[in-house]
């Protein structure tokens, strides 16, 4: 472990030297980064770059081929209650009502007796979350009776009642129409302002990533290193840039401001354009929680900055 990684090992989420492949295809290559508590960290990258794979690794749904993954200093070993999830779909249980879904995090681990005893208390707590999501009136409906945006609000309430250390979201607004999507982005930001929880937000939508994130991590397979591009070199996605962004809730109009557009263009060029190949030593990883451990063959000697 080098110096950089030692200083970030105390971060809430810490990934180091993480590799993941499916069969012959290397998906994630030497992923390094850490996330500090209270960060709204969005992860963006071209489609198929391995964002969802990274999500599943952090979740513990799949194991990395190699590397170290920690949540709050503990190695990740399967999905657990310290990481709540909101998926794009299938987050809610169709056979339960909205309020039953919202209080599931309380009722699911409890035995029959405790469930009977504390049902009222839990219901009230879940109701508070639903009220904040503007869904109190729909508590006794089933998910299929709600619109897509409402379903995602319930899914967020359902995850939050567990007070997870990290709220993990995988394209949570990807199936919504543009207007609902913006409303949900504002809703999530307001919620984050109040709670300052740690959110790991995976999306392929650049504007969404920049608008929401207090930090944007860009994952991409378009880069180069000292191994070149010979036939034997397998290349998976890695963190190619990492930005710290202002954390204030802004109107969605900010998406049209020049700075916003410029940043989006820069990320698109670096991360999404297959012809732009940065060398691994040139990555913009100036975020304080960012670090990089390179293999000797990836960067053989000290290089001049370009």
């Amino acid at each position: 472990m080098n110096e950089a990684s030692a200083s970030t090992a105390r971060r809430l989420l810490h990934l180091e030297d993480v590799y993941k492949s499916y069969g012959d295809k290397l998906v994630l290559e030497n992923i390094d980064f850490a996330v500090r508590a209270g960060t709204l960290c969005s992860v963006v990258g071209p489609s198929g770059c391995g964002k969802s794979t990274l999500f599943r690794l952090v979740l513990g749904q799949e194991a990395a081929d190699s590397g170290r993954l920690f949540v709050d200093g503990r190695p990740i070993d399967g999905p657990a209650q310290d990481r709540g999830i909101v998926y794009q779909r299938y987050s809610l249980y169709p056979h339960l009502t909205v309020i039953e879904n919202a209080m599931l995090g309380k009722t699911l681990p409890a035995g029959f007796g405790e469930r009977r005893r504390r049902a009222k208390e839990w219901r009230e707590e879940a109701m508070q979350y639903l009220e904040r999501a503007g869904l109190a009136a729909h508590a006794d409906k089933h998910p299929h009776e709600l619109s897509g945006g409402m379903q995602q609000r319930v899914a967020i309430a359902q995850a939050l009642i567990k007070r997870p250390k990290i709220l993990m979201m995988d394209e949570p607004f990807g199936a919504l129409d543009p207007e609902t999507r913006e409303n949900m982005q504002v809703f999530l930001l307001e919620l984050w302002e109040e709670e300052r929880m740690t959110i790991f937000f995976v999306t392929h939508d650049m504007e969404e990533a920049i608008y929401l994130g207090t930090r944007v991590v860009v994952l991409s397979q378009h880069y180069t290193d000292d191994r070149g591009h010979g036939p034997g070199v397998k290349r998976g996605a890695r963190v190619v840039c990492d930005y710290e962004l202002p954390s204030a809730v802004a109107s969605t109009k900010v998406k049209r401001s020049p700075e916003f557009v410029a940043l989006a263009d820069e990320i698109r060029r670096i991360g999404f354009d297959p012809k732009v190949l940065q060398h691994v030593t040139e990555f913009n990883l100036r975020h304080p929680d960012s670090f990089q451990t390179l293999q000797p063959e990836e960067a053989r000697g000290p290089r001049e900055a370009a």
Binding site: G78, H95, L108
Partner: protein
Amino acid sequence: MADAAAHARSAPPSLLAPLRRNFLLGLLPFLVVAAVYFFASQQRLAENPQDKLLPSLAQMADAVWQHAFQPDPRTGDYLLLADTWASLKRIGIGVGLAALAGLLAGINMGLLPKVRMLLSPFLTFLSMVPPLAILPILFIALGVDELSKVALIFLGVFPVIARDLMMSTAQIPREQIVKAITLGATTTTVIYRIVLPQVLPRLIDAVRLSLGGAWLFLIAAEAIASTEGLGYRIFLVRRYLSMDVILPYVLWITALGFAADWLLRQVVLRRYRWYVAGGSA
């Protein structure tokens, strides 16, 4: 003018008309069959009053009266009641056990790939065996009592239900299960609180679909070796060409099947609104 507009349409309007329930239209085939039957019956009976092939309504009513409301002189039983009870007991136990075993096997196969690999080929094989072909084996192995009849229904119905539930369990998105674990579920709670409640309406539907086959197996088994039961009775009186008994019995069996189907459908409609709505969030 209106005609010209109608001709201009490419599809005939009747194909595009909204589907409205039309009770009378549905009744029509029944009325036609009944009319043809009673006309033919009347013709035959006019020629030969002893004719047994197409009994009149009065003859059938008399037979129903004898079987349903008069105790049998030999046993003192009300035959229709005793037959119905015997048959329903067999089909109920057979289908009930098959549903229970199918639920257990289906959920385990749907959730656990190892169990699926273990059981799936055998279950496929079992579902391909025509159940009636193994009836003799059952009679030889289990005797001609109740057990072999229940076993026939079980063997005919179980593979269908198990495969159906395996598929609906496997269709539950993986995300739901991972999410349940992050909400604090264990393997047991995933099965009992997430999977089971979601496949229960599917189980009822699978039972509804398999009831037709179950009646077939029941009647076949009763026809071959039994001393009571609806199937036994119609095959018994066949020897005397007693169409006046057979026809009401067939209608009665149909009514029982229809009632069972309707009842199960009502349970699903009332208790599982989310399932009927195709709700998958």
